[in-house]
Symmetry: C3
Subunit: 131 residues, 3 copies
């Protein structure tokens, strides 16, 4: 079974907490022991895991990635102008694999799953597969 | 079943589209629903997903990684001189997990799978496992 | 079955070889064909794969990540002061998927699995799931 989630982003760069939606997909599947694959089918967005307690962590991650992969490098040749988004997506990754036990995602205490928008705002999709 | 692919690279840094080879391995396996793990068994090469439409995206990714992880940092101590390749491989990752439905890789419209060479040219291998 | 490993780190940044512990978990599981998911349940540590032969590769990876994601960027807002650790963890990744055949991790000749500490020293955990 594949569950497809919709994610609406509102900024150029944004980390959207999708932990609740992913856990919902796990619960619906009735799978109690396994692995959940969260896959982003885009090329200027990815998925990561990080801290949820302090929202400054999210903005620090986005700020630093922006400094490292600046938007306006004069050596970019891709004429859509969003090469930085493509590069950040490759650096962040397109999937996360999270272990399931007793029907629950086995995330650490401070971990949440984030959709990583690098060329928004857009309407995006996430595929969730439970095995 | 594990399928082993051979990839010949021709440049020092190169993204080689292996989507067709991976889909062939999926088709041969006769698995219609599952997950495909693409694993690179090297330490100066990885595997990523990105856009196939405009080849400038590939060259922009390689150009920016080269600027970030320059080849000649005088602080490198590894005497084979290819530390940059090792670092880029860790930043890109050694595996991709792609969902399979109806016997097809569930990639997004613009997504293709790329072998990421960071210390070529070389003869490389890729392992594909379907579960 | 999930096996939980304990990892003690001794430096602020450190790559700890956990290949032996992960192979032990695979052997205990008696699974001969499958995939091993190594998952780090922290937000300032990750897991990667890289070379074991020359220890300078490890220190070069850590050195370069430290230069890219400096510890004291005055634009960081997270008041625990460890934003660099969070960012490096996202760049490195929180899981690795390694294929199992004949009960053995199918790593390449030079590949080992490393717990990547980015805000140590600490007592850390790693979850290993075999499917």
């Amino acid at each position: 079974m594949i569950k497809e989630l919709s994610v609406k982003t509102h900024s150029h760069s944004e980390l959207v907490n999708i932990t609740g939606l992913v856990q919902e997909a796990v619960s619906e599947s009735k799978v109690t022991e396994g692995v959940c694959i969260v896959f982003v089918p885009h090329t200027t967005a990815g998925v990561t895991i990080n801290e949820n307690a302090d929202p400054d962590v999210k903005s620090d991650i986005l700020m630093k990635l922006d400094k490292l992969v600046d938007w306006n490098d004069r050596d970019y040749r891709h004429d859509e102008g969003n090469s930085a988004g493509h590069i950040k997506a490759t650096m962040t990754g397109f999937s996360q694999s999270v272990i399931i036990q007793n029907g629950q995602l086995q995330l650490g205490t401070w971990q949440h799953i984030y959709f990583a928008e690098f060329d928004g705002p857009r309407s995006r999709r996430v595929k969730v597969k439970i095995i």
